[in-house]
């Protein structure tokens, strides 16, 4: 069996089967189990390497041809698949606690499969098409049946669709750049096209305004999943570009532009978050700031780009999952996530509130929590390059911290004599507690990620040199 069949076709089929044949109450368990098994298979069986079990020899071949296009997952991709399907399993298991319909699990599996295909497809420019398909599949999740899509959803699909032609066009121009590397004009145009494409895909300032809008109008859990999945794969896609084209990697202008885009995202998202009064929107701004940090990491003039980027990506999945699940629990009670509606809820939903606040603090880089080590690594690299850039990033994260304090204050400001009670279900409390423990583990012993991180530089050989 080939790797693309296992990690692309099987989840695609499983997603479709869950949608049509699995009852809603079981979909989370089935979807989560499928993702877990895929992660375990990726961890145990190396791709393209024969594994001898007793007299049985097992080898997962690396590639498969579909309509003349090659889908290839190599040995180095194994670690990436463990991370992707491991985090996806976390999201799917959490679905039951969040109380959203089984469409999430089925479409979620299909989305993850398509996004996995985006890192496997060759020529790799086709990834833009697969990412677009995944973005379109998110729409049924974001818009409840028989309802008109909100403004945020429309903007989301407009921007994701606009990204595709820019990237395809840039790819076409890049072949010209490879043929005549001395053509500065063509190189600049190709760079600008590529930049525009990724600006739309990643939601660079000011193209990110759909994110807080979604945070307000869509289900927090679906929004969280979207904010985890799309940027994660887009970043991997972007790292592929950086790794493949030497002139992108070595251009100080482009590196400066990437850093500038990242800094503006972190600073603006943090400062905007500090003045918000809707916790769904605040999660959106935190995700924007996190994406800004990822972009900033990609712009570092350092051999540690891959390490820093994946150090950010792994906790991001956990933070957003915990945060989104907590918001889903709160939203069942409060309907709107405005500050005026959630006041004093800490005494009714202590576990959900603790999870929300810790996930939020983690994304600000609060010590002890999962987000702290990657931010420390960024400071380490960034401070030696530019103190001004470091200051703006610091300011952005401070803005996020202020929004965390305001959220906490609103949650705990219960009226006098309000007793503490516990209104989360056992499964909600269990999932949130596991997530919170995970945040602390990644914050205190980030070396638990090292077995994965140590193998990832092999994916991007040039970037790690």
């Amino acid at each position: 069996m080939s790797a693309p069949v296992i990690w692309i076709l099987i989840p695609l089929v499983a997603g479709a089967l869950i949608l049509f044949f699995v009852p809603e109450r079981l979909s989370a368990i089935v979807g989560g189990a499928v993702a877990t098994v895929l992660a375990l298979v990726a961890m145990i069986f190396p791709i393209d390497t024969a594994l001898l079990i007793s007299t049985l020899s097992i080898k997962i071949s690396a590639s498969v041809q579909v309509f003349g296009r090659n889908f290839s997952l190599n040995t180095a991709d194994g670690t990436l698949l463990v991370i992707i399907y491991g985090l996806a399993a976390l999201w799917f298991f959490g679905t039951q606690a969040s109380g959203i319909a089984n469409r999430f699990v089925s479409l979620g599996l299909i989305i993850v499969a398509l996004l996995t295909a985006s890192i496997a497809v060759e020529p790799f420019l086709y990834a833009a098409l697969l990412i677009e398909m995944a973005a379109m599949l998110v729409i049924p999740l974001l818009v409840p049946q028989y309802q008109k899509p909100g403004r945020g959803v429309i903007r989301f699909i407009i921007y994701q669709t606009l990204a595709m032609p820019f990237i395809l066009f840039a790819g076409w121009m890049l072949t010209g750049v490879e043929a005549s590397p001395g053509d500065i004009g063509l190189t600049t145009q190709a760079g600008a096209m590529l930049g525009m494409g990724f600006a739309f895909l990643l939601g660079i300032f000011p193209l990110y305004n759909w994110i807080p809008m979604l945070g307000k109008e869509a289900s927090p859990y679906v929004t969280g999943f979207l904010l985890w999945a799309l940027p994660t794969f887009t970043v991997i896609f972007a790292l592929g570009f950086l790794d493949r084209y030497t002139w992108i990697r070595t251009s100080p202008q482009l590196s400066g532009a990437i850093q500038l885009a990242g800094v503006i995202m972190v600073a603006s998202a943090g400062l905007f978050a500090a003045t918000q009064k809707h916790i769904g929107r605040i999660m959106g701004y935190a995700a924007i700031a996190e994406t800004g940090l990822l972009i900033l990491a990609m712009g570092l003039r350092s051999a540690e780009i891959v390490n820093v980027t994946f150090l950010l990506l792994i906790p991001r999945g956990l933070e957003l999952a915990v945060w989104a699940l907590g918001l889903s629990v709160i939203k069942r009670e409060a309907f709107s996530l405005q500050f005026s509606e959630i006041r004093g809820l800490a005494r009714k939903y202590p576990v959900a509130v603790i999870a929300i606040i810790l996930a939020h603090l983690s994304m600000t880089g609060f010590p002890l929590l999962a987000g702290f080590p990657p931010r420390l690594a960024i400071w380490q690299e960034l401070a030696s390059q530019s103190l001004v850039t470091s200051f703006w990033v610091f300011l952005g994260l401070l803005g996020l911290l202020v929004s965390a304090f305001r959220t906490l204050a609103v949650f705990v400001m219960a009226e006098e004599k309000t007793a503490w009670s516990w209104n989360e279900s056992w499964i909600q409390a269990g999932m949130l507690t596991i997530g919170v423990i995970g945040l602390f583990i990644l914050g205190l012993v980030p070396q638990v990620m090292q077995p994965f991180l140590s193998k990832l530089p092999a994916l991007f050989e040039h970037l790690s040199q």
Binding site: I184, P206, L368, F394, F405, A414, M449
Partner: protein, 516 residues
Amino acid sequence: MLIVISCLIFFITALALVILKIYLPDARYAWLVAVGGAILALVSVFIWLAQTPFGISLPAWQPQTLFINPISFRADGLSWPYAVSISALVLAIMLTAVSRPVFVNSYTWAGTLALGGLGLLAVTADNPLTLLLVWAALDITELVTQLRSVDGPANNEKVVIAFSTRALGSGLLLWANIIGISTGSAFNFVSISPQSGLYLIAAAGLRLGVLPLHLPYSADSNLRRGFGTSLRFISAASSLVLLAHVPSESLSSSFTPVLMALAIIAATYGGWMWLRAPDELNGRPFWVIGIAALSVISALSGDSIGAVAWGCALILTGGALFLSSVQHPWINRAMLVGVFSLSTLPFSLTAGAWLNPLSFFAPFVIAAQALLTAGFVRHALRPSGRDSLESQPGWTHTIYPSGIILMIVMQVLLGLIGWDGAIKVGAWVHALLASLLTVGLVWATPRFRILNPVRAHWVTPSSARFGSIYEFFWGIYQNFGRLSQAIIATLEGDGGIMWTLLFLILFISLLTQGAP
């Protein structure tokens, strides 16, 4: 390894108490377990002296190319006095617990012991990364504990504000780290860059409520004696320890006099409010601010030993006073040893303070010190409003005083043995002037109305003057909020897509112009 042993003793004892509380809630030996653990921990900290200085590092975070400094702890002449003070405080809290009206195993005993362990980790932290982690643990512990104990929106908000200011202090330490890295220093306490020094003082000052002056602690908390005292003092010690690591080269900055002036304002304000507080528990936040400000002043004058001395005085003299809940004339008089400890007279606990000249600021520092000492005398000799041991078993009549005596003995002991600040003659002229002024204030307190205690409900966290400063900043924040809302409304409104495309084109045209 000895550091780990001491901390483990605290943590294991706390765990044992929790297990006892759950499975044997009526076990009568729980208190013995608690006291036994605290005694062992104190003894183990004294054993440190045999090996000091020594350290321990945990396995480094990976990848090591990104995380240069491992989590590490070090016991030396500056951290040991804090460690012994914290251990003594925890033991004293356990010993004096016998005087509490409800004397049963509770989670507060386990909490006190766990805080003791965390406190030891904080004061022995060997680099800012380690200190940041321990600070965060302490802050979260305090936040959860306070939120569980207060009621009403206003009190809950105060708790969050206190947590916020401490977290911002941690942020300043992180910023000092960034500055250090930018100047090429490997940010540990041995090689801190001079540019980071003032940020370290500001970080500690912000966490303590000294720079700028604010009251980080809620005065309305139900956590009064016992656990409340450990929470206040261990949290303060964890911040004060940073002052001992400030490099003297960083104090030549032009900002130093400004910080010095702010610290003196905080010390004087704290001293004044402490002197006039209706009782010691209502005045405790001012005691912490006042003594912490004196520690900051010492650090700003380049005297790290003085900073440690004031930190230990805060814990030991304050601990004796705040744990003393029973009316006992003999103990009240014994507590006046604390006056000697605060006097900076030769061979006292604080004799190492003011070794460096304070120049123009000296008279103000003397005044602040005298106010705090006079307030201590007033509260130590205050006769009313305390519990009695009458209803307690006979053995408690011996155990309870031993807790207070322990704190007093430790003050004297630290003045004489074991660390860099011991057996010092010090700035005796300064000490004499402060002592004379203290005597004058003690004499004047009952005679002049302005020095009389204020009523409890008048003791507010901030005066109107300070409130107006914070209102100014709040106004700036609100204006910024309006500006950001206007930008957001534009970008998310009907014309938002056009605006965003316009911005993008501008951005790209700027970048392509910069390209060769």
